[in-house]
Amino acid sequence: MVGSVVAALVVAGAVVAFAIAWRPAIAAIEPPSPQAFDAALVKRGRELAAAGNCSTCHTVRGGKDFAGGLPVPTPFGTIYSSNITPDAETGIGRWPEAAFRRAMREGVDRDGRHLYPTFPYDHFTNVSDEDDRAIYAFVMTRQPVHSPGRANQLAFPLDQRFVIAGWKLLFLHGGTYKPDSTKSAEWNRGAYLVEGLAHCGACHTPRNALGAERVSAAFAGGDVDNWHAYAINAQSPAPVPWTAEALYAYLRNGWQADHGVARGPMAEVVSNLSSVPDSDIRAIASYMADVFGAPAPGRKQGVEDVLAKAKSPPAAAAKLEPVGAAIYAASCAPCHETGRPLPYGGVNLALSTAISGPDPRNAANIVLSGVRPVEGERSPIMPSFAASMNDAQITALLNYLRTRFSDQPAWTGVEQTVADARRTQTVFLQTSPGPNNAPAEASQRDKP
């Protein structure tokens, strides 16, 4: 009797699990000709794909656009991005629009296989049918590239895709974005983009043990490619609080005079945003300014206050870190203390979030790699100091900068951070831009 109940339960469980995990294949189509898509729709899709930062993960440095193959390191193993060109064999050329929409909304491919949530469908589920149609039109009119996918490196049981169905049960809350009628149209547009296609939380929200964003800590700061993605809510470590106007300028230009320069993965985001219309950037800025909220009482308010404070005698810091002080005077101050505004001068480091942030990763990365010019633009530049400073010297410099320009407690483990940053950057710095030099690790792909 007991045995048959257990057997019935096992069977029932298996049926339920199957029902949860199983997704049907969607019939393949003949790859549609590019002329089959309306040009205006394709153009709209191009802007949306830029807002979605699609190319950053689906294109390998020096590789063909959207052909995939980028290794994305995760705590669970390495997952490779897929080929989303309209190639019939290795891309999505045989996917009907319904299959594309299902992938965006449910994270399931045309064959019915669950996709790993490195593809941020927990955000893309918010994208409207209309926008999915435009993005589909855009990707289906790209150059098809024959490039077979690479096998993910995941241990059992995570290499079993049905496991993802369980993850989705916990963390994928379907349904497109519902506007908040108490807010402005611009705010709602911004929320739709930020929570959906732009998937800002994928980097800026910390993740839990199962790799899902912690809803209760939205925008509280996360990690990406050996960079820290700063908190962009009330916990923001920026010395001067962000405003909608400042956010707009930063996202539009890649730098903002009171905050500094977008670097690392954020530089790619801003670069992609350059083809997104002004109205959408304003909408994102408007919504995010609300997420940042009013600055906490006692927080430094204006640029003048911050700079005035930074002018106070640095004697204590210099005494504490004489080596760092001397390096700063010779290597950093010529640009960062001339008073010339960005983009021609460096930002005063009292305004820099890298110095006031919770860990020294971003500051270490930037000292090592510098900032390369953006072609055809007035953009800030900074030389790399990887060849002239050793880890101990950069550590002394960072300790000095923290003491001198921030009222936050000293960082810990700075020398280890610098050593890690140098290790992940060495290959990148020596990699030539040729197509055969695609880095093996995603952490080396950023363009600071």
Binding site: A326, A329, A330, S331, P334, C335, P383, Q430, S432, G434
Partner: protein, 164 residues
């Protein structure tokens, strides 16, 4: 007082630890190949090699050079016996006004020591931090390729003593 090793020789230098290397090279040691361009590490004219790597001497304070080998363009050869990189730049007539060229040669030398057969893309990427307003870029590219070739042939022996 610190000991600064430049082109294989030890120099006793009496300067503050935050003095930029460029000032010491030009003002104290009278090694004038490295040029003052912007003073901000943004133009590349002041480039020298430190332990074989290209470094911007205008933003490199002396204290970073303790125990390290500095090589300037003077260390790569002389007028009588130019090194391969210098010969190549002369043979390709890669200088117009020449102000940027010493820096270009130093970074190219560092590149060739690391990568004896660079591609055009390698050279372009490497020399990106260097500004040249005359516009001899194509000749500079050819000169670096020529230097790579010279370094691999026997008659480039004049450059052997360089390469620190």
């Amino acid at each position: 007082m610190m000991t600064l090793k430049v082109n294989g020789r030890d120099h006793q230098v009496d300067a503050e630890p935050d003095t930029p290397l460029l000032y010491v090279l030009r003002d104290e040691l009278e090694l004038n190949a490295a040029k003052f361009g912007c003073g901000l590490g943004q133009c590349g004219a002041c480039t020298v090699m430190v332990d074989g790597k290209a470094v911007l001497s205008c933003v490199t304070p002396l204290l970073l050079l303790e125990g390290k080998q500095v090589t300037t363009l003077e260390g790569l050869g002389s007028i009588e016996a130019p090194g391969p990189i210098q010969r190549a730049f002369m043979e390709e007539q890669a200088a117009q006004c020449g102000y940027c060229i010493a820096g270009m040669m130093m970074r190219a030398q560092a590149l060739l020591q690391r990568n004896p057969k660079p591609s055009d893309d390698d050279i372009r990427a490497e020399l990106e931090p260097h500004l040249c307003r005359c516009g001899t870029h194509m000749r500079i590219l050819r000169a670096v390729h020529r230097a790579a070739h010279l370094m691999q042939t026997a008659d480039a022996s004049t450059g052997r003593r360089s390469a620190q």
